[in-house]
Amino acid sequence: MVGLHKSEFSNPVINWIDTRLPVFTMIQKEYGEFPTPRNFNYFWNFGALAMVNLVIMIATGIFLAMNYQPNSELAFGSIQHIMRDVNYGWLLRYIHQNGASMFFIVTYIHIFRGLYYGSFKAPRELLWILGVVILIIMMATAFMGYVLPWGQMSYWGATVITNLFSAFPVVGPKIVTLLWGGFSVDNPTLNRFFSLHYLLPFLLVGVIFLHVIALHLTGSNNPLGIDVKSPQDTLPFHPYYTAKDSVGICVFLIVLSVLVFFAPNYLGDPNNFIPANPLQTPADIVPEWYFLPYYAILRSVPDKLTGVCLMFGSLLILFVLPWLDTSKVRSLRFRPVYRVTLFVWVVAVIILGMCGAHKPEGIWVTLSRVCTLYYFAQFLVILPILGKLERPLPLPESISHPVIGGRGGGPLPTGATAKPMEKA
């Protein structure tokens, strides 16, 4: 019986399938007994939350597409049709709209977790790089989705973002015409954005699958940032982390519900309730909140090409992060100086977000320049140098014997041994 899997499941139907296609063994191995560091805190919920969020977005999106018209004459009206005429259309659309914001909240916290606990360092560099790819695809998807309602902000957002590419010398204007499928943002642009907005989430699913495979090969990082040394350092994923993730999912759903049912348009822009008008730009044009920091970086320099390069650079620099950080210590619990600089960096990003929401005049120009400078200095100056200069605190011997009391991620479950690990 060459090639057939020897299944250990007692249920005959599951056994029959598992022998021929060992999916049940895989689920059992990767999500049942998968040895997971025993000291996770709630920051480790956010990967699972992002995955739940993606499923919510795809499910609501597929249904919304059944009633949406990707035509510049009909798009705005079809959204109102969904909101007013279609059964529960308001619910599905508000979930989709606020789900996008939740997706970015969850993903940004997930990225912060990676930065703070050094999850991007060896051997998890590729895992991190795949994560940056996911972030970029996600941003493209969100941007194109925001264009679909074809309101004033949709239209002018699309115009401004696509015009970014015109900054590049020689080929710039040709690229923009290609993106538009014409000489301005118009029906062909809307058609292709709808097509791509439907496609990209499934590309995301594929890259996330690779992200998870890479994660399961290296194993998870943990709040101490030290490697798993023995089975005593781990717990089986189920029931310990399925339960812990479930708590996070409940909180996540509560926050999403509060947004959907009590403040569905809180994060939106009132200008998008006005149908797209190619003859008039709204007075206050701002992107959605999750793009504000990048928008501020773009506007921080008075030169078009430099601004565009800095904006794209602020994302692309994340690709080389594993090689910019010269320290071998992962968790910032043991890097007191760098921990401070990372918090300053987070504050700088938040201030950049505020700058992006205000008109570029007065104090906001200065602030956005200072914060942009710090954004890049953090990666290009502080990280490489501090890794050599900083003296980290002593690392614990192992996850199960932390040297610092009370920092091991709460009391450890008694009698919780990683028995399944011994089988492997």
Binding site: F9, Q28, G32, H81, R84, D85, N87, G89, L92, G415
Partner: protein
């Protein structure tokens, strides 16, 4: 199975006894099932006809311009509706048919409104597989019973729209309608 063995290895209960963990598993599973069901309903109902589709549920037709022997086809809820002004011969043929010779026995009086024998109103969709039968125009082929003839699979209907020759299993349906006046009907 997998779940219970992992749980049992960490929180063993005495053999055969119902543990707190069993209770928690049951309650959690039930809560998730109820939640998924509650969330599934908006998605399912989303696909039902929307308010604007339901608003198009009725249509009024003026019968005055339809001459004897003539038929018109109008659209109601996206479906063709046959309105035919029957000749006295056609009415007699429809009324005199012995019911036991029909595939789906139904007297003509059940398919028309009392006092308006000359008007037959039908949903123009063949009960076989949904084609629109020919015969509403006098120049169309009407089959051996002078009613309607379906070009798809050869079903034939008489002047009352009753099926007389297969493969269609049932008579052409009569839509809900009422006479608003002698020359005006409201369908739906």
């Amino acid at each position: 199975m997998a779940d219970s063995s992992a749980a049992a290895s960490t929180h063993p209960g005495p053999a055969g006894e119902v543990t707190k963990r069993d209770m928690l598993t049951l309650v959690t599973t039930a809560a998730v099932a109820i939640g998924v069901g509650a969330v599934a309903w908006p998605f399912i109902d989303f696909m039902n006809p929307s308010k604007d589709v339901l608003a198009l549920a009725s249509v009024e037709v003026d019968l005055a311009p339809v001459e004897v022997g003539q038929g018109i086809t109008i659209l109601w809820q996206g479906k063709p509706i046959f309105v035919r002004h029957r000749t006295p011969t056609e009415i007699k043929a429809a009324q005199d048919v012995p019911l036991d010779s029909l595939i789906q026995p139904q007297p003509d009086s059940e398919r028309t409104k009392a006092g308006h024998d000359q008007w037959i109103i039908l949903i123009g969709i063949c009960t076989h597989l949904g084609c629109v039968p020919l015969g509403n125009k006098p120049s169309d082929p009407r089959g051996d019973w002078g009613g309607w003839f379906c070009p798809c699979h050869g079903s034939q209907y008489d002047t009352s729209g009753r099926v007389r020759h297969g493969p269609a299993p049932a008579n052409l349906a009569v839509p809900p309608y009422a006479f608003a006046s002698d020359t005006k009907i409201k369908i739906g």
